[in-house]
Each structure stands twice: as structure tokens, then as C-alpha cells.
């Protein structure tokens, strides 16, 4: 039997405001427990929420970024449930009338085709605090620093058909929120969280199967693994004649499995109703246009520009626009290299990315600046150095030995392109290897490589390879 996977994603993006969504308390991550919670965040008697205007601007940005309609009127509601890290006994969230309506994002599939993922809605809400169950000797600790942190929940349609598509969508969205500068995207710190609704159905079945909701997915890798595990689990259940239970499941990255957290029958009745402490949010066209005018170039637009202006492949362009910092870096390299986009792309995506990955550094932390790398690319392009030597020079630059020209100078690595010098060297090599010369001339063509090697060795790899080949060929066959 052939099964089809159906995935819908709910992403919680923590908005990078300085203060909380309904109070003036700071939102900084990692402060001492309960030091960033004021009377409002703590749900003291008599306190009232006041909406932080900045979150509206950020929600509009996201709405424009996903090609959605911004609701002229949206309403905050109360989602009522009891939990110790929810100080008021309700979470303020948008329910029936969210601020961002239907939108979409396009993702690039592995076969190079583009798929549109529809987005149902995005709404604003406040985060809860954290309950800490370890280290309290059978009790629980509560940290309310996070309580009241602004979140934008972005809900997709069940449009993804594999874990890979889900990850592609998440990466596009992740990149978008950082371009828009509305979320720092830090998954470890929980600034960008994802819940996945996963179900399977027989291929061709118009009806969706029973879904489970996966939680605790805090890296792209875990999301992919959790979905794949869950899909296998559901298929196994169905193939052995059992049913999938609608429930919330927690992913355990250590065991790479999901396990039941709470069933449908334990689902809360949240008793939503409009929050009488807050007025409906009214947004005018003027407000939207003002935000639109301030929007940066977004990843999709940038990608197209890279393809058009630099003649990059669709794949290269997609990789380079993943983050604004990477795209900016690349464009500086192109500029400094004297317009060598293809070579620049190869170096940024190859040598540089590899080195950054190995050292676990962000592009913004690169020891080699974009200008430095640009000059290196330029020296390759103008034949001052060979590609092979460039790798050695890159390493030296990485280790802080300075700019490319300084390193070439210091190490005497300049490529030899002077034909008389090359001829002299070739003569020398041929004279020193009479036996090999005789064999070569007797028909052992393979020995050509031997002569190239000897010449490179002698010159320290500085010979221009094309010129060397030509001269060698000419002299050996003379």
C-alpha cells in the first residue's frame, strides 16, 4: 500500500520587541528567574494589559511578507485554563479575528520545482512562563520572565507532503522573519518554535487521516526526525489494522521517538471570549502602506535578483539568500572581486561555509571578511594565484595572517605567468629526466603527468597550469 504524509505546521515566532506585549517589562533572554516580570506579568489583582504598538507593526510586516491580507479589525480574546506558569488563569490571544489572514510562501523542492504552501492565519498572543520540574525536590519551580513575551503564531494549511517539504517551508519562514527583523530565529532559546500536525492517508484518498500534534521540536533536525518517526509509527499502526489516536505527542530527541502527552478527551475547553480589557485592534491602509514602504528586500525578491543580475543557478541563489547576512556577505564579495559572481558564489558556499560550519560560527562571526574574500576571488580571476593555492591562502587568511596580497607577497606565492621563466624551468626538468623523456617519446603518454608534477614541485605550485601544459607539450613533442 502506498501512503501519503500530510503535514501542517504551527510556528510560534517570538517577536523581538524590547518590552512585553502587554507590559513595560523587558523581554531579554536568560535573566535571573522572575526578575523580568512586573505586576502585570504576574497577574496581580487590579492590573490591566496595554498593547505594545510595536507588535502590531511587526505583525503587519509578517503579513506583507507572506502575501496576506491584514485584518482592518482584529480582536484579542482570553483563552482560559489553569496552569501555574499562566499567572492570570488565561492567555491573551487572538482567536476568531486574527490580525493576519490567508497568505502563502513558495518553497523550492529538491527537483527544482516550486511549491506553494498556504498559510491559514497568523495571530498575536502572549507567551506563558516556564515550569521547571527538576532541581526542586519533588516541587516545581516557576519562572515568569517569559510570561507576556509577544508571540506571532503562524499557522499553515496541511499542504506539506513530506518531512523535507516541512523543513523547506520552515527554513523559508525562518529566513523571512529574520529578514523582516521581527524575530531573531534562535531555536535553542525558543524564539522560533514549531508544532507539527502529522497524519497519513492512502494515496488518492480525499479525506485526511487522524492527526497527531508533535511538540518539543527545537531544531530543524529534530523536526525532520520527529515527523519521520511519527509517519512510520502511524503507517505501522494502520497496516496492522489499528487506528491512530488524535492526541498531542512529545518528541524525545534522545530516544528519537514520540510519545503520548495528552489525549483528545483531556483536551481543554478554553472558553474563549473577547478580552474586555483590550479594545479591538484597528489598522488603516495608511498604516499598512507605511510599513510596506519600510520593508527590506525579501528573500524571494532577492533570490530572483541574484538569478537575473548574477546569472546564478536557482539553487545557488536560494542558498545565498537564506539569511540577509549571508546575502550581504556574498554581494560584498562580488563587488570586491571585480564582479565575479559565479566564483564568489562557489567560494562563499564552498570553502567559507565549510570552514564556518566546522568552527560552528555564524556568517557574521567569520574571521575572513567579505572584502578579504572578494580580493582573494579577484586574484584567482586575474590569474595571480591558482585555485589550489587560493585554498592555502584562504586558510592563512582564516588564521589572521592578513589580506591576500600580503600573504602572496610574504610567502612568494605569486603565480608564474612569464613564459620565458616557464620555458626555462621546463628545459631544466626535461634535462634532469632523460630516461622518462625517452619513455615518453616512445609512446608512454601517461608520463606527461609526471613532468607536470615535477614542474609544479620545483616551482612550489606557482606555475600557471594552462601555460605550463602548453609549454611542456611543445617541448616534449619537439
Amino acid at each position: 500500500m502506498e501512503w501519503e504524509t500530510v503535514i501542517g505546521l504551527e510556528v510560534h515566532a517570538q517577536l523581538s520587541t524590547k518590552s512585553k506585549i502587554f507590559s513595560g517589562a523587558a523581554t531579554q533572554f536568560g535573566a535571573e528567574p522572575n526578575t523580568q516580570a512586573c505586576a502585570i506579568d504576574l497577574g496581580f489583582p487590579g492590573v490591566l494589559p496595554v498593547l505594545n504598538a510595536e507588535v502590531i507593526r511587526m505583525a503587519i510586516k509578517l503579513g506583507l511578507g507572506i502575501n496576506a491580507e491584514i485584518a482592518p479589525r482584529s480582536v484579542f480574546a482570553r483563552k482560559n485554563y489553569f496552569y501555574p506558569d499562566l499567572p492570570k488563569g488565561y492567555q491573551i490571544s487572538q482567536y476568531e479575528l486574527p490580525i493576519v489572514k490567508k497568505g502563502f510562501l513558495d518553497i523550492l523542492l529538491e527537483d527544482g520545482s516550486v511549491k506553494r504552501i498556504n498559510i491559514t492565519r497568523a495571530h498575536l498572543e502572549e507567551d506563558a512562563g516556564k515550569s521547571l520540574h527538576e532541581d526542586f525536590h519533588g516541587q516545581s519551580g516557576i519562572d515568569l520572565n517569559r510570561a507576556g513575551t509577544p508571540l506571532l503564531e503562524i499557522v499553515s494549511e496541511p499542504d506539506m507532503r513530506s518531512a523535507k517539504e516541512a523543513i523547506a517551508y520552515l527554513k523559508v519562514l525562518h529566513s523571512l522573519v529574520r529578514y523582516l527583523e521581527i524575530c531573531d530565529g534562535n531555536m535553542q532559546e525558543g524564539s522560533f518554535r514549531c508544532d507539527a500536525n502529522v497524519s497519513v492517508r492512502k494515496k488518492g484518498d480525499p479525506k485526511f487521516g487522524t492527526r497527531t500534534e508533535l511538540k518539543n521540536l527545537n531544531s530543524f533536525r529534530f523536526i525532520e526526525r520527529a515527523i519521520n518517526f511519527e509517519v512510520e509509527r502511524q503507517i505501522e499502526l494502520l497496516e496492522s489494522g489499528k487506528k491512530v489516536t488524535q492526541e498531542t505527542r512529545l518528541y524525545d530527541p534522545n530516544k528519537n521517538e514520540t510519545r503520548s502527552m495528552r489525549g483528545k478527551e483531556e483536551a481543554h475547553d478554553y472558553r474563549y471570549f473577547p478580552d474586555p480589557d483590550l479594545l479591538p485592534v484597528a489598522i488603516t491602509m495608511d498604516q499598512i502602506e507605511k510599513v510596506r514602504a519600510e520593508l527590506p528586500e525579501l528573500p524571494q525578491q532577492k533570490r530572483q535578483r541574484f538569478i537575473d543580475a548574477y546569472a546564478l543557478s536557482s539553487y545557488d541563489a536560494s542558498v545565498l539568500v537564506t539569511s540577509k547576512a549571508l546575502a550581504d556577505y556574498f554581494e560584498t564579495v562580488v563587488k570586491e572581486s571585480g564582479n565575479q559572481p559565479k566564483l564568489a558564489a562557489n567560494w562563499v558556499m564552498g570553502e567559507l561555509s565549510g570552514a564556518l560550519n566546522k568552527a560552528n560560527l555564524e556568517i557574521t562571526e567569520s574571521p575572513v571578511t567579505a572584502a578579504q574574500l572578494g580580493k582573494l576571488v579577484q586574484r584567482i580571476a586575474d590569474n595571480t594565484i591558482s585555485g589550489k593555492l587560493a585554498k592555502t591562502i584562504f586558510e592563512a587568511m582564516w588564521n589572521g595572517e592578513g589580506d591576500v596580497d600580503a600573504i602572496i607577497e610574504k610567502r612568494g606565492l605569486k603565480q608564474v605567468t612569464d613564459s620565458s621563466a616557464i620555458e626555462a624551468l621546463v628545459d631544466k626538468i626535461i634535462a634532469a629526466n632523460p630516461a622518462q623523456l625517452a619513455d615518453y617519446r616512445a609512446g608512454k603518454d601517461k608520463l606527461f603527468g609526471y613532468f607536470v608534477g615535477q614542474a609544479m614541485k620545483e616551482s612550489g605550485g606557482k606555475m600557471n597550469p594552462q601555460q605550463l601544459n602548453e609549454v611542456l607539450k611543445k617541448k616534449l613533442n619537439a
Binding site: 505586576a39 490591566l48 480589557d277
Partner: protein, 481 residues
Amino acid sequence: MKTVAELSRDLASKKISSVELTKHYLDRIKKFDKTLNAFITVTEDQALENAKKADEKRAKSAAGPLTGIPLAQKDIFCTLGVKTTCGSKILDNFISPYDATTVQKFNDAGLVLLGKTNMDEFAMGSSNENSFYGPVKNPWDLERVPGGSSGGSAATVAAGLAPAATGTDTGGSIRQPAALCGITGLKPTYGRVSRYGMIAFASSLDQGGLMTRSAEDAALLLNVMAGFDEKDSTSVDKPVPDYTKKLNNSIKGLRIGLPSEFFNQGLDADVAKVVQAAIKEYEKLGASVHEIHLPNTKLSIPAYYVIAPAECSSNLARFDGVRYGYRCKNPQDLEDLYKRSRSEGFGAEVKRRIMIGTYALSAGYYDAYYLQAQKVRGLIRQDFSKAFEKVDVILGPTSPTTAFKIGEKTADPISMYLSDIYTIAVNLAGLPGMSIPCGFAKNLPVGLQLIGNLFSEEQLLTAAHNYQKVTDWHTKQPEGF
């Protein structure tokens, strides 16, 4: 017993100091509050200290008109460093870490806080019998209730334990006790006064206001209390006039509406007579009287008893025994902690309303109850806005009866709810309302209710003050105090 206006003149002319005045009221509280039970907390030391500061300001001529005037706050307003209970066991140990905006404003204006007054628990009640701190007695008859929920404030002002007090009004909680205790009560337009720091019962209905000895006093104090507050999104950013300025304007030509629905069979005949006499008085002052209709009045109680409990069920969820307030002994687990802290901490009426509200908001019932009630609310608003096309002020009884006996209605919540029949619609429509003393029925005070259009406090106060200039009902005092 002097009014705030009189005391303000006495302080300005140095006839009396704030310390003397404050001591006078503190002595009266000591003497009479054992009988009345109107205060939950008396802030004696703080009051004397602040009175001293007020006198120093007066000496330096740095004083405002109300500097040094003593005031009682309903125990629903959070007061920094002072116990703030809302009449509930669940907050019996709660010391507020901040001042409500109203408290802050009165402090800034130099008024001296005497203490916190008793009230129905979380402002839920019409008799002050729902307080964890015991019922308040009506100074006019100690066997009777003072009304509620601002019963402590009403009794305090009626018995002269403070010249004025704050109250809050969600369904009549200022106007009904003012009527039953023979004082002046003002519930401003929803949004005129900040709700920040006023412990929420039903957020879309709650409004802070004043309980005083005269309309003039209410105007003086509203000058301090009213205004936009950036901490309360539902407060309205509208300029605050000097409410005393037009008090003496003539009301000749004022169009008064009498809703037929307010004079029907539920109204006590003696109360009706007194109210009719008051209306005659208005006619003598040059006002014209018109019959009007508020056809949806009968729906106001059912709508209110869906909306108010729904909001309260959510507002009171924060009292969970986790961060502050009452926590049960030896909780076994989280659920036990919640269940027992709340069961033991809340009183019967509060629990009843939390349950009604939780039910009304539940999946499958929301549309039938909450949404339906909101539609009714819209109809009631429409009734009033139509009426205000024809008239300037609506008059009628504040309460269908005078003060009833303690214990008389406790077993029958519906008859208790009906005592707010004339006041509740005003909250649903967000309008300003007043109650002023207009006579007696069987030796018990009767209140006349004045209802105005949105933000027409000035006009209401003028209408009330004109009446008080030609009558003396508001100057009557209960015997023995």
C-alpha cells in the same frame, strides 16, 4: 456633618487643620465602627502622617482645594503597602505592591486615606452580606442592610465616619447603597475613570465612582478622579471639564424622561410616592417631564447575569493560591492546591457566579448565552440612545424598595438580583448615573436615580445640585451618629 466643600473652605481659612479633621474622623470610626462594621482596614498612622503633610502644604500655600480632606477607599482599590482584600478571604493576607490610579490621584491631590471600606466579596452582592468580614449595618436601621456592593462606603458616609468615599458600580453597586443609606452616589460613564488597580469583577461593566453627602462634593472629587489613563486601554481620552463650574446653571427647559418600565408593579408604593414628589420638584424648577419607553429593561437582568459572571469567571481565575493570597494547607498535588485554595478562599455567591460564568462560556453554550447576552446589550444601548434623542436626563427610582432586613433575601438570590432592576441597564449601556436622597418611606431613605447620556456627568451633577439647593433630604442624618 459637613460636606467636602465646607471642609475645604474650613481648611483654606485655617478654621481647622487636616490633622484635627483626620483625628475627628478616626475617633468617630473608633466609636461607631464596632456597630457598623463599615471598615475592613483603618490606616490610622498613615492617615495622621499624611494629614500632617497636608497641613505643611497648606502652610506653604502649596495646597489644592482638597489637600487635607479625609477620604475612605472601597477595599477594591489597590493601595500600596496596605491590605487590599476585596472583601474576600482569598485576599485576606494580600498587601498590594502598587497604588490603583484612583488611589494615586487622590494621594497626589493631597487627600488623606482613612481606611478601606467593607464590601460584598469581589463586589458581588446588593446587601453587603457577602463579605468575608461580615455584614455592614445600615446607620438608619441597624437591623437592615446598607445595600451593596459598596455598602461599607455608603454606611461610612451616611454615619459621618468619613466625609466621602469611593465606590465601584458594576450593576448598581454605588447607586443602590447610596439610595439605601440616604447619600449621593455617582457612577461615571464607562471609561471616564481608570480601572487600573481596581480589582476586576466584570471588566466591561465595572466603573469607579463616588459616594458623598452632596452633588457638589461628587463634582469636586470627580475633578480628581476622572481622566484618561494610559494604563487602562478602556479609559477614554477626552478632556475633563471642571465639574463644579456649571453646578448652579439653571435647569429650566431640561427635558426629563420617565421610563414607564421603572414605575411598574415591582416598585414599592411608598417609594413610588416619594419619587413622584421629587419629580414634581423638578417641574417646579422648570424642567419638562416626558414619558419614555425602555422596552428591553426586563432583559437587562438576565443579560447581566450572563455577561458579569462570564467575565468574573475569567477575572477571578488568577486567585489560584500560587503567587499570592490564600493557599490551602498541605496541598497533595496541583489539582488539590487549586481546588481547595479556591473552594476555601471564595464565598458562596462568588462561587455561584464563577460557575454560572464558566458554564455560559463553555463550548456549545457560548452562542446561546454569552453572544445572545451581548446582543441584548446592544438592544438596551439602542433603547437609551433613542430615549436621549427626546430627553436630556432620565429619572426614576434607584431601587424598588428601601433597605431590607439583614438575612431577608440571602436564601433567595433571584429576589436579591431583582433589587438592581433599575440600575443594571445603565451599566450595560455604559452610561453615567446618580442616586440622590429624595425623601423617606417608613423612616428609611429613598433614592432618586438620574441617568444621563454618555459623558454627560456635568449635566447630571447640575440637575442633582439644583434639586439639592431647594430640598434638604441630603442633609438628613441618621440618629445616634
